[in-house]
Amino acid sequence: MDTIAAISTSLGAGAIGIVRLSGGQALSIALRFFSSSRVKRAEDVVPNHLGLGTFTDGDVHEQCMMVYFRAPRSYTGEDMVEFHVHGGSYLARRVLEALIGAGARLAAPGEFTRRAFLAGKMSLDEAEGVRAMISAESEAELREAYSLMSGRFDDRIDEILRTLTEVLSTMEASLDYPEEMEDEADDSMEKAAAVREEMRKLLSSYGVGKLIKGGVTVAILGKTNVGKSSLLNRLLGYPRAIVSDVHGTTRDVVGESIVYKGVKINLLDTAGLRETTDSVESIGIARSLDAAHSADVVIYVSESGKEEDKKEIEKVLSCLDKVLLVNNKIDILGKGQGGINISAKTGEGIETLLDEVLRLTVGEGRTAETLTEERHADCIRRALAALERGIAAFHKESTECVLVDLRESIDALSEIGGGNATENIINDVFRRFCVGK
């Protein structure tokens, strides 16, 4: 059995997110990312023992707990690993993506349950719990199906599926109707290559797609009393944050979301940056900097005419790549030099600012056909890998062997929209070719 992975806690709220792995490779995949003072190699891992360590993958460097259950003494009866990470969906998703990148497959709905059952490992209590969870999952899926984005994405998948079906039906017809298919032209490989390109494009839109679905996180930073909270309120369209002339009014990070041009933007208003002796305020300032680091974009607000030195800002934020410099209060102070001129009070320049946020994040790739779901990405990744194998084998192996890979490809792709690949292929044979006696 291959090794599967999934987030097993509900996405969104919750103090802890659990990501599960099940299958023969579970531990070896897990240990590519997890280490602790005690655990360096597989032999160090004590089964059923929850251990603290670090999950490292690219820029993710996160403290978390890991527990290993050795087959057959686990929920599924297979080797299993669980990661318990800090709450919120973001980290759990990152961990899941890392595991999938390392060779795990995203579990199909109910697949852990199915494996547990087949291994004879499921108790009645567990079954009841699982049933509730699956109905909830399906509801969430149903909602997604109705989301604005899905329509055109589905069209694009359908188109790829249709072309791939034609590739397969031509090849299958040549096997099942060798005499009748002799004079049919075969452009299967050109079509397969075109499908491969389409799949690659879709996958490359996935990074952007994730931003669209999860939302773009924007931190509003700047010194005290430059109008950060006013900007937040303007962006939200209602007075969410307390605004006053008193320096240091905002003491903690305030988070709210808006949707702009179809993209969710998560706004974080932060405590103003200044030297302070107030211990609560210093904690707030430290949090402001954390928020800036985790954000996709930082809006750095200054008062118009009092633009701060870029080098100084760079010192504070360590890098200016994702920073938008904003000059506020142009309604009283007039336009400033460099940066985007806005007035949080009158709303002038706000749209320009938001457009810049989108340009910096989702950029030109922001189309409705963008891939947003990890499940879909996983299907397309598998479909692409199998298709590439098939294309490589095309001139070396006989048709029925090439078809083993192409079948795997179309089956993976069919998981997205459902539907029976074999029936579609056979229907296509008789739709397109005059075969049969």
Binding site: M1, A108, P109, G110, E111, T113, R114, F117, L118, M122, S123, L124, E126, A127, E128, V130, R131, I134, S135, E137, S138, E172, L175, D176, Y177, P178, E179, E180, K396, E397, S398, T399, E400, C401, L403, V404, R407, G418, N420, T422, E423, I425, I426, V429, F430, C434, G436, K437
Partner: protein, 613 residues
């Protein structure tokens, strides 16, 4: 009268069912409307073809009769897809249909425990959901199991243009009363359609302008028991339709029953009539027509590719527009035939009717098309009817074990909206389900069932022993000097010694090349090739086996028979209804029902846990 078993119908399904029952020691009656229609080839005079050839081999490996009977009546044999891999190669044989019929009738007559009776089965006896027997031409005959193999005879009518006959195929009588009796007993019947081309006089054809199509005298036959090759082969001939043929058909299309509403039955896309081909593929300039002998040296030829239900005068005009058929004379005109059959979703995987215990069915009655599909089901229905009598569990072949498993699983899980034809494209474990290894896959099972004779079993063991020996020979290292020699003959250079297996992995090395390396007694080209195929498919076969392992785990979870799917509230409504209709035997079968999602399966599992404790 009382028998243990009654088989209704003596076509390709019925004879296999009856022979299986009788050979397993059960006193069996086979009922036919007309003895002359026993194993009658009502359409094309050939056996096998892609996918179908595999079925014949499997029927043979299990101890069925079709392969032996075809071999005894062969006029020509060919291996299709010889330029492709072994898994998609299929035998197709032209047969003498009179010999085919006569040999099978003789086999029925000489089989112990088997009685043939002419007459019309008019009704079945059902009491408390259990079969009790049948009524044949007014006489009640009792039996504990009944197998329905009514083919295309149920309330059938043949259609040639405006001419409609209340008749079976080829002018035989049809079954007039059984349909309504079955409907009355609650069996879900529907109407399918198929057709056949004209039979024309052999001496009215100009073969000199056609392409001669010969068989292959170097290949073996269908049955694992048949020795030797067919040395004397009768040719077929190839010609084509042309724009004139197409014009005639288009101009008369309003007289085609398929197009003017006379025919309501659902026809198979697998055997389109010529008018269908012309109308649906208007761009195609010509269509192939094969002229095939009906009997050896006989007076009639079969015109494959020209199936039609157009009126006789149109048929004459369009046939005569074809090169070589200008002066053709008709012995029998082409016709379409409509008939009643059952919705196979009403069947269990054992081919027992869900609502009537002890009633089995097979062949075209189950919604399939083709002699081979019929024989395969007939054999399984016969075996399972016998096992019912013996109180044994049914034999159900899995999709990774046999094309027969694919065929029956497709029918009873997905149903079909048109006569179902076997295709290799339907078999997901195609590389494993080869015709060359049908015996290895199924003969041990056939032995266990009791249909494999001592003679067949000895032959099987000998063949298996040889194969095992060759397999271990393939692991033997060959010194560099010899490898170099073989490579050189292919224009390749070898750099080191290697095993035969490693050599065979190269695409330029075939089993023939390494044959001289085997000890004399193992130099069997067919067996050497069979093992070479396993080597060459290597990683692909491995992948299939891995996929099959997942599939088998799901198949091994048998679902309780009385599950109340409609009451499972957490299942989506569509899934509840589909599961209730199909009533799958295993969790695997449930997962293949269209409209049942992986999430539904997980929910189903939670109910299973609950009911099983």
């Amino acid at each position: 009268m009382k028998y243990e078993a009654i088989v209704v119908g003596a076509g390709h399904a019925g004879v296999e069912a009856a022979l299986a029952l009788a050979r397993l020691g059960h006193k069996t009656l086979i009922v036919t409307l007309d003895e002359r229609s026993v194993s009658h080839m009502a359409c094309n005079p050939n056996i096998g073809g892609t996918g179908k050839g595999h079925l014949v081999r499997e029927v043979d490996a299990l101890g069925g009769q079709m392969g032996l009977n075809a071999d005894a009546s062969l006029l020509q044999i060919k291996m299709l897809n010889q330029n492709k891999g072994a898994a998609v190669q299929s035998l197709r044989g032209q047969t003498d249909k009179e010999v085919y019929h006569a040999r099978m009738l003789a086999t029925l007559r000489e089989t112990e425990n088997l009685t043939i009776r002419e007459g019309e089965c008019e009704d079945i006896l059902v009491e408390k959901g259990r079969i009790g027997g049948v009524v044949v031409s007014g006489e009640t005959i009792y039996a504990d199991v009944v197998v329905l193999c009514t083919g295309v005879y149920l309330s059938s009518r043949t259609i040639t243009g405006e001419e409609i006959h209340d008749a079976g195929p080829y002018g035989f009588e049809n079954s007039k009363n059984l349909s309504s009796a079955l409907l009355e007993k609650g069996l879900p019947l529907r109407r399918f359609k198929t057709g056949t081309p004209a039979r024309v006089y052999a001496d009215s054809i100009d073969y000199s302008v056609m392409t001669r199509e010969d068989g292959d005298s170097t290949i073996g036959c269908f049955s694992f028991l048949t020795e030797g090759k067919l040395l004397e082969q009768t040719p077929c001939y190839l010609t084509y339709t042309n724009p004139e043929t197409h014009r005639i058909i288009r101009e008369n299309i309003h007289r085609a029953p398929l197009y003017n509403g006379t025919i309501h039955g659902v026809g198979p896309r697998y055997c389109p009539s010529i008018e269908d081909k012309i109308m649906r593929f208007a761009d195609k300039e010509r269509h192939q027509i094969f002229i095939e002998p009906e009997v050896k040296g006989g007076e009639l030829m079969y015109v494959q590719g020209m199936s039609s239900s157009l009126p006789k005068d149109v048929q004459e005009a369009m046939y005569r527009s074809v090169k070589g058929l200008e002066n053709v004379r008709f012995a029998r005109y082409a016709y379409a035939i409509e008939y009643d059959c059952i919705d196979p979703l009403a069947l269990k995987a054992s081919l027992e009717v869900k609502s009537v215990e002890g009633l089995f069915s097979a062949g075209q009655f189950n919604g399939s098309s083709g002699y081979e599909e019929a024989a395969a089901q007939g054999l399984i229905a016969g075996i399972n009817a016998a096992r019912k009598l013996e109180g044994k569990p049914p034999v159900i072949l899995r999709r990774d074990e046999a094309y027969i498993g694919v065929l029956i699983d497709d029918l009873v899980t997905k149903g079909t909206n048109e006569p179902y034809r076997m295709m290799t494209a339907r078999a997901e474990y195609r590389l494993s389900l080869r015709q060359d290894n049908a015996d290895a896959r199924l003969t041990p099972l056939g032995r266990e069932i009791g249909l494999v004779s001592d003679y067949r079993w000895e032959r099987f063991l000998a063949r298996k022993g040889k194969k095992d020996a060759i397999r271990s020979e393939y692991k033997r290292s060959i010194p560099l000097s010899i490898v170099r020699e073989i490579y050189a003959s292919k224009g390749e250079t070898a750099t080191g010694g290697m095993t035969i297996e490693e050599m065979l992995k190269r695409s330029f090395i075939s089993s023939a090349d390494i044959l001289p390396l085997l000890p004399e007694e193992l130099r069997d080209p067919d067996l050497a090739e069979e093992i070479a195929v396993e080597v060459k498919y290597g990683g692909y076969l491995e992948k299939e086996r891995k996929n099959a392992a997942d599939y088998i785990r799901m198949e091994e979870r048998v679902l309780p028979e009385g599950m109340d799917y409609l009451a499972m509230e957490n299942l989506r409504l569509e899934a509840r209804q589909k599961l209730d209709k199909v009533r799958p035997r295993t969790l695997g079968q449930a997962s293949r029902i269209s409209g049942v999602s992986p999430a539904d399966i997980a929910v189903l599992i939670t109910y299973l846990v609950k009911t099983q404790g």
